[in-house]
């Protein structure tokens, strides 16, 4: 006598669900980085006007795998190009204000938790 169980997995549907859940986790993480980058900038800038903070954007990544990018510099945008000198420092402003790097680093655990939540 023989018995067996057959499991039919709808792989394309499962993949889609996991991808959507991961995308939401990434979005939550990116939004937190965006929020903290603005706040870091405003609290560390010598003369905070809010102009640069207002130009930090959350964009959907163009990578095939999806995800998000928190951007403070776009091609052809002079105002945003200034963002690099603020983040990294320059000969004129030798004290960098690492608003993107530090907000990403501060949120690493939070971002990991978002993805752990997806896998639970």
């Amino acid at each position: 006598m023989k018995s067996g169980v057959r499991v039919d997995l709808d792989i394309p549907h499962l993949t889609k669900e996991v991808k959507e859940a991961c995308d939401k986790a990434a979005e939550r993480g990116a939004k937190r980085v965006l929020r903290d980058a603005k706040s870091y900038l405003m609290s560390h800038a010598k003369h905070p006007t809010g102009k640069l903070a207002g130009e930090i954007k959350l964009e959907s990544s163009k990578y095939k795998g999806g995800g998000y990018a928190v951007e403070a510099q776009g091609p052809g945008n002079y105002t945003r190009f200034y963002a690099t000198f603020v983040e990294l420092g320059s000969i004129r402003n030798p004290q960098p204000i690492p608003y993107l790097r530090n907000s990403l680093k501060a949120n690493r655990k939070y971002i990991n938790k978002q993805f752990e939540g997806v896998l639970d």
Partner: protein, 136 residues
């Protein structure tokens, strides 16, 4: 975190034979900010982030981000040597062993480098970031 500043400078300017980057910069490597009117080329280093990581009750890691900035202003007859200086800086610090008082040094690795240029003043700048892991 004064200990990390001391460790970085000690690597740059040891008491014995000086590394190539020391000669490149004429010994001009400063914490945070260079003095007014300093001669080119020169370097600046600073700690820009420090995240503690507690992995057991009594054990703690310090995850540091250290940034170096190299500046050069080539004259009309001189070429840009920043890439050479950057290469020598990286040879000294990437995957090096640091002596940090009060800590066990685990690693120092380059995370990225980024060249910039101030067009108005023809000043070249190379920013390079290292991640440093220490254990208390």
């Amino acid at each position: 975190m004064k200990a990390i500043y001391d460790a970085i400078y000690a690597k740059f300017a040891p008491s014995g034979t000086k590394p190539s980057v020391y000669s490149d910069l004429g010994g001009r490597m400063y914490p945070h900010e260079a003095p007014q009117g300093v001669t080119f080329p020169y370097g600046v280093y600073m700690l820009i982030g420090d995240s503690p990581d507690y992995y057991f009750d009594d054990e703690q890691l310090e995850d540091l981000t250290v940034q170096f900035m190299l500046f050069d202003k080539p004259g009309n007859s001189s070429s840009v040597n920043l890439m050479t200086y950057y290469g020598h800086l990286d040879a000294l610090y990437n995957k090096c062993s640091l002596t940090v008082v009060g800590y066990t040094h685990l690693e120092m690795v380059r995370e990225w480098g980024y060249p910039l240029r101030d067009l108005e003043n023809n000043i070249w700048q190379y920013v390079v970031q290292y991640g440093v892991l220490l254990e208390l």
